[in-house]
């Protein structure tokens, strides 16, 4: 199990989190249909580091961006998104 450094709660067990999708696959509301299709149905799926959106569902329930290596599971960063992250 991974230990995820939640920006609000500190390091927490992965079982409290749910993976949503990658950052590059978020479809902007005004995306043209070709871009929306690509973002909705394809992934970079790298055998390396990617930025992923996770949610601390069974904790503070906030969304965050986790930068993680997909072979070693090494987490190199975790930052908040959403209104909480605004200055």
């Amino acid at each position: 199990m991974m230990l995820i450094p939640c920006p609000h709660c500190g390091p927490r067990a992965q079982s409290e989190f749910i993976y949503e999708r990658t950052v590059d696959s978020v479809v902007p509301l005004d995306a043209p249909s070709q871009e929306a299709m690509t973002k909705l149905f394809t992934r970079n799926n790298p055998r390396g580091v990617d930025d992923e959106i996770w949610r601390h569902t069974y904790g503070c329930r906030a969304w965050m961006i986790l930068t993680r290596h997909r072979v070693t599971n090494e987490i190199s960063g975790c930052r908040a998104i959403g209104p909480e992250a605004l200055p």
Binding site: Y19, P46, W54
Partner: protein
């Protein structure tokens, strides 16, 4: 290649078994092949075998970065079945199931196919309606499916918890009696031996590191053992589809996840069929050696690590114990995992890509093993003719943008919602 038979075994016994030969050669790669298949798993080897056998092609190579049978072919739970509701899926898998029934004879290699029955459990009224609908859809296409009552399920599998206070009460089931299990390593080895004897070069420890392009066309591959030219190239690398296709600049509708499986110590026969529950997502069978094999959900986040997380394993074990409480007395001896390429509708992708002469066979999610013969057959047809076979035409890569997805579970376009 010498033929395996009871007679050859007997003759070997008299001469101290010194007659055994390697089952396939270890050739150096040539500078050019008509068809190169990337990935020496069951699907890639079956493709090579049918290309040589059915289409009569000679100049074929299978490139494997590791060794034969070291990837997902040796990491699945060996279940073979064709009990899908949607027509394109059950037609493809049924074609495969028919090939399974004659596979040991076809390959002259005992793949230990054991049609002991593959049974889905129904835990509620809604489950039973769903199972009946699935069975009806199958029978409309001539595929065997029998709806079982609660008593019939209890008779077939006496160790299931059928009590009133069971954690997951069982109302009935749907059985496909021609389904079962096979020995997964033997499938890879049998196809490898068969393909090799028909002249296919199986090149192990040869990782593809790039594609050689000539405009829109792929004309070869760069590998750790040098550049190899090719007429057509077929990707067949399961969990690493996204990575290999990425080398050609393609972005696929797949996300790689880890799927775990585990096996207990060997015991006398206790599980007669393949017990599956789709409401829970747990599947249990017993190997011929006696170990109880089971698996559950994939780890629902992207991963290329060929190891899983105990948290997910615990979920699968908890389901297994609730269904068959007697399992609690067994020790788990091995757990392992493979990298699966989860597609966006849960169905495979077999066909052309936007790059000319480059073909793709992937996106099998966690259900590729049972399709090995059908996948090889249809992919061989596609590679030989440049056009899809009728069975794999619906599984084209462009079906997502056309809105023609094949979504058996109806769970929408997310690989982690399968």
């Amino acid at each position: 290649m010498s033929r395996y038979s009871a007679f050859s075994l007997l003759r070997g016994a008299l001469t101290g078994h010194r007659h055994w030969q390697p089952a396939w050669r270890d050739p150096e790669p040539k500078s050019h092949y008509d068809i190169i298949i990337i990935g020496g798993g069951g699907h890639g080897l079956a493709t090579a075998y049918y290309l040589a056998k059915v289409h009569g092609l000679k100049n074929i190579a299978v490139l494997e970065k590791g060794w034969i049978g070291g990837g997902n072919t040796g990491r699945n739970t060996t279940i073979v079945r064709s009990n899908y509701r949607l027509e394109p899926l059950h037609n493809l898998f049924e074609f495969g199931l028919k090939l399974w029934h004659g596979l040991s004879d076809e390959l002259n290699y005992n793949v230990m196919f054991s049609p002991r029955g593959a049974m889905f459990l129904g835990h509620s009224d809604a489950d039973m309606v769903k199972l009946a609908e699935r069975g009806d859809a199958m029978r409309c296409d001539g595929i065997d499916a029998d709806l079982l009552t609660r008593d019939q399920v209890a008779k077939l599998e006496p160790l299931l918890d059928m009590s009133r206070d069971a954690r997951f009460p069982i109302q009935g089931g749907l059985i496909q009696r021609r389904g079962g299990t096979a020995r997964h390593d033997a499938v890879a080895w049998g196809y490898a031996r068969g393909a090799d004897s028909l002249g296919v070069d199986i090149i192990q420890k040869c990782e593809v590191t790039g594609f050689v392009r000539d405009g829109d066309f792929v004309v070869g591959v760069e590998t750790t053992r040098g550049r190899i030219g090719a007429g057509r190239v077929g990707i067949c690398v399961a969990g690493h589809s996204g990575h290999v296709a990425g080398l050609a600049g393609l972005k696929l509708p797949v996300e790689s996840q880890t799927l775990q499986a585990m096996v207990t110590e060997g015991v006398k026969p206790m599980i007669n069929s393949v017990i599956m529950s789709q409401s829970l997502h747990c599947y249990i069978s017993q190997s011929d050696k006696g170990g109880v094999v089971f698996g559950g959900d994939p780890d629902n986040w992207p991963s290329y690590a060929q190891r899983g997380h105990p948290m997910v394993m615990e979920g699968a074990v908890a389901q297994g114990l609730a269904l068959v409480p007697a399992l609690s007395r067994l020790r788990m001896v091995r757990t392992w995992s493979g990298v699966t390429d989860m597609s966006f509708d849960g169905a495979p992708i077999i066909g052309e890509t936007p790059v000319r002469n480059l073909f793709l066979n992937g996106g099998w999610c966690y259900g590729g093993f049972k399709a090995t013969p059908a996948s090889g057959w249809t992919y061989a047809h596609t590679l030989a003719t440049g056009k899809p076979h009728a069975l794999n035409a619906p599984f084209s890569l462009d079906r997502f943008e056309r809105g023609a997805t094949i979504d058996e579970t109806g769970s929408g376009p997310m690989p982690n919602s399968r």
